[in-house]
C-alpha cells in the first residue's frame, strides 16, 4: 500500500471481487489491443502502400463488399456475445450475496460523511474496521441525496439512495487500509466524502471491538427504542391491542390484506415503520399502526430492525 510509486498503474487488489474484475479487465484489454492493432495496422499499411505517389496495383478491387461485411458483422457479434456472457456471469455471482454473511454492517451516508454501525453496537464515522477473509454484507441508506459507496481496492461500488435500502457484499482478502470514496456527486464537499476500510486479522478486529466502550449491541439498543417509542405497547406478548407478534417474523412470508405476499426483510420492516398500517395491512389485523415518518432517524430504524432480526435468531424463534 505505502510504497512510493512513480506513475502508479494498478490499484491494490484486496478482495475476492477484485481478482475476478481484474481478470475480466485484462482479458478485454488484451482483446482491445488485438482489435486496435488490426484497425491501426490496416490504416497505416494501406496509407503507406496506397499513398498518392505509389505505383501499387489498384485494379481488381473488392466488388462484393457484403461478403466481407457479413464476415466482420458475424465476427464482431460473436466476440461481443462472448464478452457479454463472461461479464453477465461474473456479475450475477458478484451480486448474489452469500446466504449467511459472516458480518453485517449498516451504512448511512449523509452530506458529507459515512456512518457505520457494527452488530455489536460499535459506531464509526468515515472508517470501517473489518476482519480479513470474512464475507461482509452492507445494508446502506442515505439521509439526504444519492451517494455511492466505492472501495477501489475491492472493485465494488453501489449507489446509496435516500428512502430505500441497497445492499452490497464483498470479502476482504488482504489486511491494510483501503480508501472508501463517494462516487455519486453529492454537493460541495463530495470530494471529501471519503474514508478508510481498515482490514485486520480476526484477533485484531475482535480486540478493536472490545475497546470501543460499547455496552449494548445494536439489537439491545433497538430493544430500548422499541419500548421508548411505544412499539411494545401493541407488539409485546401481553399487550391488549391486537397487533402481530414480532418474534420470529424476520425472514418469514406475510400475507397482506390485498392478497399480496411479502417476505419480511429490512425493506418491508422499514416500510411498516415509516408508512404505518394504512399501507401495510397484514391480513387478519386492523390497520391501526401509526406512521413514524419524520419522528425517527435512519439510525433508529436500523436499530429497531436489528432488534426484530434478533428475535428470529434467538433459540425458539423461527429459523
Amino acid at each position: 500500500m505505502s510504497e512510493e510509486q512513480w506513475l502508479p498503474f494498478w490499484p491494490p487488489v484486496a478482495s475476492n471481487t477484485a481478482v475476478s474484475v481484474d481478470r475480466l479487465f485484462i482479458g478485454e484489454f488484451a482483446l482491445s489491443i488485438v482489435i486496435l492493432g488490426l484497425v491501426f495496422g490496416m490504416i497505416i499499411a494501406f496509407s503507406i502502400r496506397y499513398r498518392r505517389g505509389s505505383a501499387a496495383d489498384r485494379g481488381n478491387r473488392v466488388k462484393k463488399t457484403w461478403h466481407w461485411e457479413i464476415g466482420w458483422t458475424v465476427g464482431s457479434l460473436a466476440v461481443f456475445l462472448c464478452l457479454f456472457v463472461w461479464g453477465a456471469n461474473a456479475y450475477v455471482w458478484l451480486f448474489e450475496p452469500p446466504r449467511h454473511p459472516d458480518l453485517e454492517i449498516y451504512v448511512i451516508g449523509k452530506q458529507w460523511m459515512w456512518k457505520m454501525e457494527h452488530p455489536g453496537g460499535q459506531r464509526e464515522i468515515d472508517e470501517l474496521h473489518l476482519p480479513v477473509d470474512k464475507t461482509v454484507r452492507l445494508l446502506m441508506t442515505s439521509e439526504d441525496v444519492i451517494h455511492s459507496f466505492f472501495v477501489p481496492a475491492f472493485r465494488v461500488k453501489h449507489d446509496v439512495l435516500p428512502g430505500q435500502y441497497e445492499t452490497m457484499w464483498f470479502k476482504p482478502t488482504e489486511t491494510g487500509r483501503f480508501r472508501i470514496q463517494c462516487a455519486q456527486f453529492c454537493g460541495t464537499q463530495h470530494a471529501h466524502m471519503i474514508g478508510d476500510v481498515v482490514v485486520e486479522s480476526e484477533a485484531e478486529y475482535a480486540q478493536w471491538l472490545t475497546t470501543q466502550g460499547v455496552h449494548a449491541s445494536l439489537a439491545q439498543q433497538g430493544e430500548a427504542l422499541f419500548r421508548a417509542d411505544g412499539c411494545s405497547g401493541c407488539h409485546s406478548a401481553n399487550s391488549t391491542v391486537h397487533a402481530p407478534s414480532l418474534a420470529g417474523i424476520y425472514g418469514r412470508v406475510v400475507h397482506l390484506q390485498s392478497g399480496e405476499a411479502r417476505i419480511v426483510d429490512e425493506t418491508y420492516l422499514r416500510d411498516c415503520i415509516l408508512l404505518g398500517g394504512a399501507h401495510i395491512d397484514v391480513a387478519g389485523y386492523p390497520p391501526v399502526m401509526p406512521s413514524f415518518a419524520g419522528k425517527i432517524s435512519e439510525g433508529d430504524i436500523l436499530e429497531l430492525i436489528s432488534y426484530i432480526q434478533s428475535l428470529s435468531s434467538q433459540p425458539g424463534g423461527s429459523p
Partner: protein, 546 residues
Amino acid sequence: MSALAADLPTSYLTEENTIASWLLTRDHKRIALLFFASVTFFFFIGGIAATFVRLHLLNPAGVLLQPDMYNRMFTMHGVTMVWFFLIPSIPATFGNFFIPLMIGAHDLAFPRLNLASWYVFNLSGLFLLYTYFAGGVDTGWTFYAPYSTLYANGHVIGAAVAVFINGFSTIMTALNFVVTIHRMRAPGMTWMRLPLFVWAIYAVSLVMLLATPVLAMTLALVGLERFMGVGIFDPSLGGDPLLYQHMFWFYSHPAVYIMILPAMGVASELIPCFSRRPVFGYTGMTFAIIGIAVISFFVWAHHMFVAGISVFSAIVFSLMTFFVAVPSAIKVFNWTATLHKGRISFDAPMLYALGFVGLFTVGGLTGLMLATLPIDVHVHDTYFVIAHFHYIMVGGTVSAFFGGLHYWWPKITGRLYPEMWARVTAVLTFLGFNLTFFPQFILGYLGMMRRYYAYPAKFQDWNVLSSAGASILAIAYALPLFYLGWSLLWGQRASANPWRATGLEWLTSSPPPKENFARTPTVKVPPYRYDPEDDSFISQDGVAHA
C-alpha cells in the same frame, strides 16, 4: 459545372450585405454561418471552463478554485459543451449549409423556421449566460435528483430553462431536415443515392425529434419539484430518484448518438474523397446508421448499473449495449476497407478523418469494457468513463467537425486555407488529445473519481500529464481561428470543386449563389464514383471528369 454558376455572378455572401440582410436572412447558408458563430462562441466558453478544471487538477489538494467554484466549473463545461456545442455543432452548421446543396435543393423546407431556430438557440444561450453570471450551478450536466430538486444551492432553474428552450431549437432544425430530405431531393436523387452525410443527418434528426421531448418533460418535472415541492423524484416527498435517472438517460443516451452520428457522416464524405475510391459497402453503411439510431433508444440503463436497478435489467441493458456496438464496428471496418487500393492523399481533412476513426475506435472498445457489468461496477463515475466519452465526443465529434470545416471551407468562403498550417494543427490535435485523455483511463482504473476537486497525491503525475496535453489541445483548437481568419482575407480563391469530389455541392460555384444552383441538377449516379486507377471521378450529375 461552371456553366451552372456562370450566369449568377454574385454569391450568397455578397448578394446584399446589410446587418438586417444577415439577421433576417432566410438563406440556409447564412443561417448556417450564424449558427457557426454561436456554437463557436459556446465552444470557447466550454473550453474556458475546461481550462480551469485542468489547471485546478494540477494540484491534488485543489487549491486554485474553491470547492463550490470547481463544482460550478465542471457543470458549466458539461452543460455548455453538450447542449450548446456538440449537439448543434455539425447538424446546425454543416447540415444546415450542405443538406440542400447535397440533395440539389434551393433551401430547406421551412426557411423561416430555420431562422427561428437560431433565435431560439440564442435565447437559450442568454439564459445559460445569465445562469453563469448569476453564480452558476453545481449539479453536473446530469442534474440528478434529489440533489438538483432540493439540495443544490445554484441556479438550477436557470440552467434547466436554458436547456429546455435549447431543445426547441434542436426540434425545429431536426423537423426541417426530415421534411427537406423527404420532399426536396433533386430528380434522380433516390434514397440509395444520398450521400452518407445526408443519411446520417436524417437519422440523427429522427432521434432528435423522438428523444428531445423526453428531456423537456424531465426538466419540467425537476422545475415542478424544486419550485412547488411536487413530489416526483425526491423520496421524502414520495417520489422516486431512479425515475429521474430513467427519464434523463432515455434522452441522454440517444443524445450521445445525436453527437456522434453526424460525425460519422462527415467521415464518410472525407475518406472516399481523399482515398479516391467509392466508400466500402454503401448499403451496409446506411443500415448501420439506421441500426445505431434505433438501438440507441434501448440502452439507456447502462448508465445505471450501480444505481439500484435489478440484476435482470442490468443484464438486459448490457446485452443491448453489446448489440449497439455491432453497427459501430461495421462502420469502422468499412472506413478502413475504403482505404484498400485507394489513391490516398493526406490533406488536413483526411488527417482529421483518420484521427476520427482511430479515436472513435478507442472510445468504442472502452465502451465495450463499460458494457461488461463487473468492469462497469468498478470504473463507473471514475475518470475511465470521462476518458471513454471524451474519446467519442471530442476525439470523434470534434475531430470530424474540424475535418468537415477544412473540407467545406473553400465552398463556404470561396477561399483556400493554408494547407501546411492545417496539417500541423490536425496532428497537434491528435497528439494533444491522446496526451490529455489516455492518462485518464489509467487514473480511472486506479480509482480517481470524477467531480472531485481534490484527489490522492499519488495520482498527481498522471493529472499533470493530462493537463499538459490539454494545453496542446487548447493551442490546436485556437490555431484555426488565426489561419482560417487569415484565409478569409488573403487566401487563394477556390475553384468550384477543389477536392475533385462527387457531391452536388461541388457543382455550383464557391461560394454558392443565393439560389444554390442556376438550374436544379439531375442526379444520374450514386455518390463516391471515384476511380483510383486513373484518378478520374463521376460527379453525381453523371458527368465524368478525367
